[in-house]
Amino acid sequence: MIAVDADAAVAGISDGATVLIGGFGAAGQPVELIDALRRSGAGDLTVVSNNAGNGDEGLAALLAAGQVRKIICSYPRQADSWVFDGLYRAGKIELELVPQGNLAERMRAAGAGIGAFFCPTGVGTVLAEGKETRSIDGRDYVLEYPIRGDAALIKAFRADTAGNLVYRKTARNFGPVMATAASVTIAEVTEVVPAGAIDPECVVTPGIFVDRVVAVPEPAAGVAS
């Protein structure tokens, strides 16, 4: 767990990487890390994120720069998802649509060593077409596989020097799950405090899951707005 600047933190993410990016809309979106990834020029990326970018900043800017080959998400279409919409209609980005709970559970499975799991969501829908199904105890399930990342970019509220993270309100969303599911997890936080300054009962992401921390002193709220 090393506190580094954003550009150094993302430097190892190479062309063709699968990158898990936290956030639900703007809440919890690690804008500084995404901007650094854009500056790095890494291309042909597969991005896993709940949405496909809002407005022109953060994830939307990464898409606009042409660095993303494919996005795996649950909810690309929004009032302000014009960047994605344009790329998608022009056939310049590939979309894999995954129900939100499956997105979360498939990343959890990757982090937890689960090889696959039978899941109730999507049975009988087009999103389950071609997938293995099974009836267990009278209920139908679809077999879903883990989603792993080469890197995870997440935003938390505060880190300690042991890499433990706490989050703020609903900005927690995908951060704790993505942190477990990537080879390298990079967290953007508002401050880094000494080990022992976060109550061990309240740690959300234990430091074992965090490889690099970047302190962005602006209030978390200010970055996203």
Binding site: F24, G25, A26, A27, G28, N50, S74, Y75, P76, R77, Q78, F84, D85, Y88, R89, L95, L97, V98, P99, Q100, G101, N102, L103, A104, E105, M107, R108, C119, P120, T121, G122, V123, G124, T125, V126, L127, Y167, R168, K169, T170, A171, R172, N173, F174, G175, P176, V177, V204, A220, A221, A224, S225
Partner: protein
């Protein structure tokens, strides 16, 4: 046992969520979908101990934030700023959907393009060639909540029914909807049987003919 309210017209837009709110028992844990279902919150009895879940990671969600209360880190599933109630809790997405999919939510209220007599739900995709699909948590809610209630107009703008023998839009979930709240009637669905619980400004007979569905009374 249908109550036919004939001395009035169809329910107004804001009357539908109010009607749903009357059917939510005290102490329930409830998820309200994006759009009109969100308005159900405005009609819940504040003393009834009903707890709202939002799938982006919170139990005990409060009302919409006033301008000076807006916190970008505190939003609902529609990404609108909301508030926190005493006794609230935050959790991550895997825990939030485990809660939903594990059958712990008593009720979710969703919008719909179509509902079938058998309770199939279509609410995530029109299937039109140029439409960009987006599913969010809809399929998880359909599969996971103990009771799925739907709010919708009973007829599309072109007059075609949205409560149908079989959905023509892509499905969200199979056999999951148990109640449908519309401008013209409230329906209870059970094992393929459709009962009109209440009608507004019309009769069961008239609705049955217009929907081309057998309606139990």
């Amino acid at each position: 046992m249908t109550v036919e309210h004939l001395g009035r017209g169809p329910l107004e837009r804001n009357e539908i969520p109010a009607r749903v709110a009357r059917d939510i028992p005290a102490g329930s844990y409830v998820n309200l979908g994006i759009g009109q279902p969100t308005a159900v919150a405005d009609y819940l009895d504040p003393g009834a101990g009903i707890t709202l879940h939002t799938e982006n990671g919170m139990l005990g969600m409060g009302r919409a934030a006033l301008p000076d209360e807006i916190d970008p880190d505190l939003t609902n599933a529609g990404k609108m700023p909301v508030t926190e109630t005493p006794g609230a809790s935050y959790f991550h997405q895997a825990d939030s959907f485990a809660m939903m999919r594990g059958g712990h939510l008593d009720i979710c209220v969703l919008g719909a393009f179509q509902v079938s007599a058998g309770g199939d739900l279509a609410n995530w995709h029109t299937g039109e060639p140029d439409a960009i699909p987006a599913v969010g948590g809809a399929m998880d809610l359909a599969a996971g909540a103990r009771n799925v209630y739907v709010i919708m107009t009973l007829f599309a703008k072109d007059g075609t029914p949205k409560l149908v023998p079989a959905c023509t839009y892509p499905l969200t979930g199979l056999g999951c909807v148990t109640r449908v709240y519309t401008d013209h009637a409230v329906f209870a669905l059970d094992q393929g049987q459709v009962q009109a619980v209440e009608t507004y400004g019309t009769t069961v007979a008239a609705l049955s003919e217009r929907l081309q569905l057998v309606l139990a009374q």
